[in-house]
């Protein structure tokens, strides 16, 4: 055999799992991002008592594809005074960073591109933060005031909230004792508890910080449309704009995955060590089956024949997925894929729940003012995160001295919460006096 071909075959034989995972991530994430947008619009409509997109496909199920086609064929405008090279490069950086950082995330026990990397969580954090280079460079290259202001705001916000988020991650890492992603999940499996119950304050800090890092409401100041048109994306249109958008939603999936891995037990099903709950392993197949049955039920209610047909197709897709989940239980040679499939199901379910909280907050809370954002970051979240790291550390030491884990963790958590209450109080008092002082001097204040 040809030696080059032989070595190529050998290469494929060694790396086929990683290559497949990489291709799946790059191919599927844009589609998922599109449907996350649809879900967001539907949820927003639901919370505002509307219907949301209904025209393209039954219940707007084809809306993401229509949007993608629209964005692809839209006119691509490049401002005359912009820096062409950087303008071209910036959205690509934004999206590449988000997609690359997914390489180290473990979606299932072996569904991971960079499997042996023992600093996985740092890789995900570090590489996903490179996306901000895309934002700041794009804002600069557009040569527009709105864009540059949006980029500056976004950088300041990132620098402030990455510190708090990083410190929250440290509390989770203290509990697991490793930086490797599969190691963190394995630690939660061994200790039999998700870290959200051991470090609830850290989870809360990470939630707030990750919303700020992904530039979403109520912290969406870099693209606040009432102040900055569209922030750093003002001059972008068509497909470049779509790349930014894709990067943003991919980033949401990334922070959701970090939170899931660190605090929500990664790919583990609920109660992984309780044997009489083993029937939970059948849930993925049953859930997909029920979804298919529901689609058939909805198919009868569609007004147009085409939409009924499409709904049947959706039902068939659900049944096919259910079959993929169910068949390995009956075929002995395929048994080895069960943990992987179920793991991916639970992982994605948890990520979806995390993103749901994001959307829920977006439709509920009004936008922060920029100084409020900075105060929240520097005066409350960062001190709280530092105290929390100390509290978790002290609890770990006490546990090493022979205390029971809960006896060690509950008082330290209560102390952290008390400190949080104190911080908020101090901060309120200070801003009160500051605002009365500025009111006395400045008649435009308030």
């Amino acid at each position: 055999m040809n030696p080059t071909l032989h070595s190529l075959l050998q290469f494929l034989q060694t790396w086929w799992v990683e290559l497949t995972c990489g291709v799946v991530i790059v191919a599927v994430v844009p589609l998922i991002a599109g449907y996350v947008v649809l879900v967001e619009r539907k949820l927003m409509a639901d919370m505002q008592a509307r219907l949301g997109p209904m025209r393209v496909g039954p219940h707007g199920l084809l809306q993401p594809i229509a949007d993608a086609v629209k964005l692809l064929i839209k006119e691509d405008i490049i401002p005359a005074d912009s820096d062409k090279l950087i303008f071209w490069l910036a959205p690509v950086i934004s999206m590449t960073a988000a997609l690359t950082s997914m390489g180290a995330i473990a979606f299932g026990p072996s569904f991971q591109v960079a499997r042996d990397i023992n600093i996985g969580i740092l890789f995900v954090l570090g590489v996903s933060s490179l996306g901000f280079l895309g934002i700041i460079l794009g804002g600069w290259a557009s040569n527009s005031h709105y864009s540059i202001l949006g980029a500056l705001r976004s950088t300041a916000q990132l620098v402030s909230y990455e510190t708090a988020g990083g410190l929250a991650v440290i509390s989770g890492l203290l509990l697991s004792g490793t930086l490797s992603i599969s190691g963190i999940v394995a630690a939660q499996e061994k200790q039999g508890v998700w870290f959200i119950f051991l470090a609830p304050v850290a989870v809360f800090i990470y939630l707030v910080a990750s919303i700020a890092e992904t530039n979403r409401a109520p912290f969406d100041l870099p693209e606040a449309e009432s102040e900055l048109v569209a922030g750093y994306m003002t001059e972008y249109s068509g497909f470049r704009w779509a790349l930014y958008f894709l990067g943003e939603y991919a980033n949401m999936i990334v922070v959701g995955s970090i939170a899931t891995t660190l605090f929500l037990g990664g790919w583990l099903r609920p109660f992984p060590n309780v044997h009489w709950l083993n029937w939970l392993d059948y849930i993925p197949a049953v859930a997909m089956l029920l979804l298919g049955v529901y689609s058939i039920y909805r198919a009868g209610k569609q007004p147009v024949k085409v939409q009924t047909g499409f709904m049947w197709a959706v039902a068939l897709a659900c049944f096919a997925t259910a079959a993929v989940f169910a068949v390995p239980w009956f075929v002995a040679t395929l048994k080895f894929v069960i943990p992987g499939l179920n793991g991916a199901f639970w992982f994605l379910l948890k990520v979806a729940a995390y993103i749901y909280v994001f959307m829920w907050l977006r439709f509920t809370l009004p936008r922060y003012r920029f100084d409020q954002l900075m105060h929240l970051g520097w005066y409350i979240l960062i001190p709280l995160a530092i105290v929390n790291v100390f509290a978790v550390g002290i609890a770990m030491v006490l546990e090493a001295l022979g205390w029971s884990r809960w006896l060690a963790l509950v008082p330290t958590t209560i102390v952290t919460l008390a400190f949080a209450a104190l911080l908020v109080r101090w901060h309120d008092r200070r801003t009160e006096s500051a605002s009365t002082a500025s009111l006395a001097q400045d008649s435009y204040a308030g």
Partner: protein
């Protein structure tokens, strides 16, 4: 085979973008090429099995320092400022620096020829899968063997940070804008 392809790829990218970084007139372009250089160097670290060094390079240099660089470049009109700062002996200094660096590199290579391993310093190579996780090794050496220098360095950084805050604070002592 794959290893050497990757190495030459990273090394080539690092060298080319370093050259571009020096020659670009636009400061933002220079910053972008500096980022590429740093990323390519990080790739070489990763290839050597120094995973922690790789990610520290990305988080600290690319994610932290370069973002601040770009931040400053964006706010300061460097092209205007440079006209005031240009000094005449520039070419002389450039030639001098290149000569010193070249002499240094040449000297090292000449001296190293007498060592085993065809003119290159070669440490005994460890098997990639037999390396201990190097974040733990690093923590061991930082917090055991080199605890005092580590603490001194962090106190120094803290002093620098406090000094920067004091210098940046406006003179009246009001903190809120």
């Amino acid at each position: 085979m794959l290893d050497s392809i990757l190495f030459y790829f990273f090394a080539g990218v690092a060298i080319v973008s370093a050259a571009l970084m020096v020659t670009r007139r636009n400061a933002i372009h220079s910053a972008v090429f500096l980022i590429t250089t740093l990323l390519a160097t990080a790739g070489i670290f990763l290839q050597l099995g120094a995973e922690f060094l790789f990610i520290a390079q990305i988080i600290l240099y690319v994610g932290g320092i370069m973002v601040l660089f770009i931040f400053v470049i964006m706010l300061v009109r460097l092209d205007v400022a440079l006209h005031h700062l240009r000094f005449r002996m520039k070419n002389l200094v450039v030639i001098l620096v290149i000569a010193v660096l070249g002499a240094e590199a040449g000297g090292i290579i000449y001296y190293a020829r007498s060592l085993p391993g065809h003119g290159l310093f070669i440490e005994k190579m460890a098997q990639a899968d037999k390396l201990a996780p190097n974040s733990e090794k690093l923590a061991q050496s930082l917090f055991h063997s080199y605890l005092l220098p580590f603490e001194i360095a962090s106190v120094l950084l803290l002093v620098a940070m406090v000094g920067a805050v004091i210098m940046a604070k406006n003179k009246k002592g009001t903190e809120d804008s």
